[in-house]
């Protein structure tokens, strides 16, 4: 069985639980940007944006590099494969459970139709 790093997962799920941070990731997926660019784009103070980028950076979803006076942000180094795998396993469990529930529900529907017909007769 593949070993998943839970600490890493926690950090990235926490990072992704915020709409602004998801937006920042999308933005950086298209092009690198400085924190100033991002702050302007998201209509936010420089301090506010620094905090969001900090969370993303600690989760390994974004890396930053200081060139002169400007800090450039880009996607990486981690990707979201582990998160996707976690969700997929969880989804499969519920999917199997719901397939069985579907069977029970169909059975109840048939029974109701039969009972309804009997009552009318």
């Amino acid at each position: 069985m593949v070993q998943y790093s839970n600490a890493g997962l926690d950090a990235s799920f926490a990072a992704l639980s915020d709409a602004t941070r998801r937006g920042v990731l999308e933005q950086l997926g298209r092009a690198e940007a400085s924190i100033t660019d991002l702050a302007e784009k998201f209509n936010m103070t420089l301090t506010g944006m620094k905090k969001h980028v900090g969370v993303l950076e600690r989760a390994g979803l974004v890396s930053t590099e200081k060139v002169g006076r400007v800090r450039t942000c880009k996607i990486g180094p981690r990707r979201l494969e582990e998160e996707m795998a976690w969700l997929e396993r969880y989804r499969q469990l519920w999917d199997a459970r719901f397939d069985e529930l579907d069977r029970v529900v169909e059975e109840l529907k048939r029974k109701e139709q039969v009972d309804g017909r009997k009552k009318r007769e």
Partner: protein, 157 residues
Amino acid sequence: MKNRTTVERKSERETVVTRTFNAPARIVFEAWTKPELFKKWWVPKSMGMTLVSCEMDVRTGGTYRLVFGQGMAFFGRYTEVTPHSRLVWTNEEGGDDASVTTVTFEEKEGKTLLVVSELYPSKEALDAAGGAAEALVETFQQLDELLVTLGASAGRA
């Protein structure tokens, strides 16, 4: 046609699962609240586990207890029961750190949108639940393969 099951991790402590069922809410609700029906589907056959007893006192403040042949038990309390639309219960087998499950049934044109939200006391607890799901899925896959084999031989017979 089979409907899609979607999963979203809302935060580090909460997951939300949704699926549409082709039946009115009262029927889907019945399958969640009658123990003899609930035990038919809650533990998918492919899990390889058996429910030996399923006691459910489905009313606000009522308790439930599911006991597995393997000696495991799951229990807790219904904190909210609104017929055909909403069920909330606690899962207390983990001690003080109870997780809370909320199920809503939303009927639209004869179909029911089911939303199951699981809120854990901590991210560690949710990760542990993910670990359990991982073990189960592995069992499903093995059994799926077996079923395909059995299905194929039955088809030839």
